[in-house]
């Protein structure tokens, strides 16, 4: 059993919510960072809509994962690329699905290896249930309550679609 959803309808409100949050915090020069691979796709779309001054950054958290010794090295994606100084900057961290929170923990560790940001805002396309760490999204395109055996996956980059599946 699986269900496909269009992502476009989620992206505009998500970008709007993010802009309101930035306004309320008086952040005028944020830097957007997407987590490879799905988060980078979403970040690219959000970056196009908000048009911040800073170029888009991407993060490959492979080397910061906490399950390396259990599941080994993952298939490689693009290296991390942060084309701006992280020090004292307001960062918007973007991922596709927030689930256990472990990816975000790894991403924040990596960001801190580049410098000391002024703040980090977390924006996710989907915030689903199942958190294992004290992490929550500041902005979410959709919030879903799912059972542990249900999986959400973003497929893309063109078209971007959300796939909700029951695992065996």
């Amino acid at each position: 059993m699986s269900e496909r959803r269009d992502v476009q309808t989620l992206l505009s409100p998500m970008a709007g919510d993010l802009q309101s949050l930035l306004n309320s915090r008086h952040i005028t020069d944020p830097a957007i960072i997407g987590i490879h691979t799905g988060g980078a796709w979403i970040a690219e779309r959000i970056h196009q809509q908000l048009k911040p001054e800073q170029p888009l950054g991407t993060l490959n958290i492979t080397f910061y994962r906490d399950d390396f010794t259990r599941i080994g090295l993952h298939p490689q994606v693009e290296p991390s690329n942060l084309p701006f100084s992280v020090d004292d900057r307001h960062i918007v961290l973007i991922d596709d699905v927030l689930h256990t929170g472990r990816t975000i923990r790894a991403a924040m560790n990596e960001i801190f290896d580049y410098g000391r940001p002024a703040s980090i805002i977390l924006a996710c396309l989907v915030e689903r249930s199942g958190r294992e760490l004290p992490i929550c999204a500041d902005v979410a395109g959709e919030r879903l309550t799912l059972e542990a055996h249900q999986h959400v996956k973003l497929t893309g980059p063109d078209p971007l679609e959300l796939l909700i599946q029951e695992s065996k």
């Binding site: 390396f68 090295l73 490689q76 290296p79 560790n109």
Partner: protein, 326 residues
């Protein structure tokens, strides 16, 4: 086939890295792609990733080396591993302890990886056969046999400049007879699909088996360098030469030394490489070594990323279950 068996576990994952021989192209490509991700770590303000936190890596150097040992040490430290440098000349082998007894002592200290450099061919392989199953061995150069991580950093450097291996003509110039680097390079270039590999040097320094490895042998350096994309110069290994293989260094330089005039015979965008340490005025002219076509120092930086990749691919293999057995 034996080597292939010992280098991989039952699922085909890399367990030891002893030689290039026997590895599939995909394995080498996986290492190169992984290394690509580590290049940027050196540019981060914090030059470290936490990947191998809690792992202990022992540099076992039975033969002196500066560049290889320091880049292995830096690679391990940038992966957050703990590093132990064992200097063999001052260790207990001089008190009469056997190699295997020393290994068993290091095993008892719960180490995860030995990086081995030895003047005897086959030393790393011998150690790999005798260590407990959870320890991985990386060959950092054994006698005249192999220096696989050097070959990997060389092909990595080549790929950075010339991404398509299947369109390349590569010349290796100098003392191929005593060079473990050249042997490993030839295996790596062959595995990655380089169609034409040339060996250039005097008869006394070109081993007879090269032609069986698909290498074209040239004794005339001008003929050999014509239209090549990559020129790899080798060091004259005077410490390994026991016999009158060469008339004099000056004559060697005049005949085989890479000068700007000889380099002009290669393609205009050819790159010049050297595994180091270089003997200026013996195998290479200073103006070439420091010139715009030289990527010699780039090789050194890439050496760190490539060694990080080898270490993390080896230690990142999924537990296979067989390691509890013998």
């Amino acid at each position: 086939m034996k080597r292939q068996d010992i280098q991989c576990d039952s699922q085909g994952q890399l367990r030891h890295f002893l030689t290039i021989e026997g590895h599939k192209r995909e394995t080498l490509t996986q290492i190169l792609d992984t290394a690509e991700n580590f290049v940027t770590v050196g540019n981060q303000p914090v030059k470290k990733v936490p990947l191998l936190r809690g792992k202990t890596i022992v540099n076992l150097f039975f033969e002196s080396s500066t560049r290889t040992r320091t880049t292995f040490e830096l690679a391990a430290k940038r992966l957050s591993a703990d590093v132990l440098n064992v200097n063999i000349s001052t260790s207990s082998t001089s008190k009469g302890e056997s190699l295997l007894d020393m290994l068993h002592n290091l095993e008892a200290m719960h180490c995860d990886m030995f990086v081995v450099r030895h003047e005897q061919s086959g030393a790393a392989h011998f150690i790999a056969q005798h260590v407990v199953p959870h320890i991985s061995i990386i060959n950092a150069g054994d006698g005249r046999h192999a220096h696989p991580t050097q070959a990997m950093l060389d092909v990595f450097t080549i790929r950075k400049h010339k991404p398509d291996f299947t369109a390349l003509r590569v010349a290796i110039v100098g003392d191929l007879m005593h060079s473990r680097v050249a042997r490993s390079q030839i295996h790596a270039l062959n595995t990655l699909g380089v169609p034409e590999i040339r060996a250039i040097g005097p008869c006394t320094l070109i081993p007879p088996y090269l032609e069986q490895m698909g290498v074209h042998v040239y004794h005339d350096v001008r003929e050999g360098l014509k239209d090549v994309d990559v020129v790899i110069m080798l060091r004259l290994q005077r410490e390994r030469m026991d016999g009158a293989l060469l008339p004099s260094e000056l004559e060697y330089f005049q005949t085989y030394g890479l000068t700007q005039e000889k380099l002009a015979l290669a393609k205009p965008d050819a790159i010049v490489m050297h595994p180091g340490p270089i003997n200026r005025g013996v195998e290479i002219e200073s103006s070439v070594a420091d010139g715009p076509q030289s990527v010699i120092l780039e090789q050194v930086s890439n050496g760190i990323a490539v060694r990080m990749a080898v270490m993390s691919v080896v230690l990142g293999r999924k537990p296979s279950g067989e390691e509890g057995e013998a």
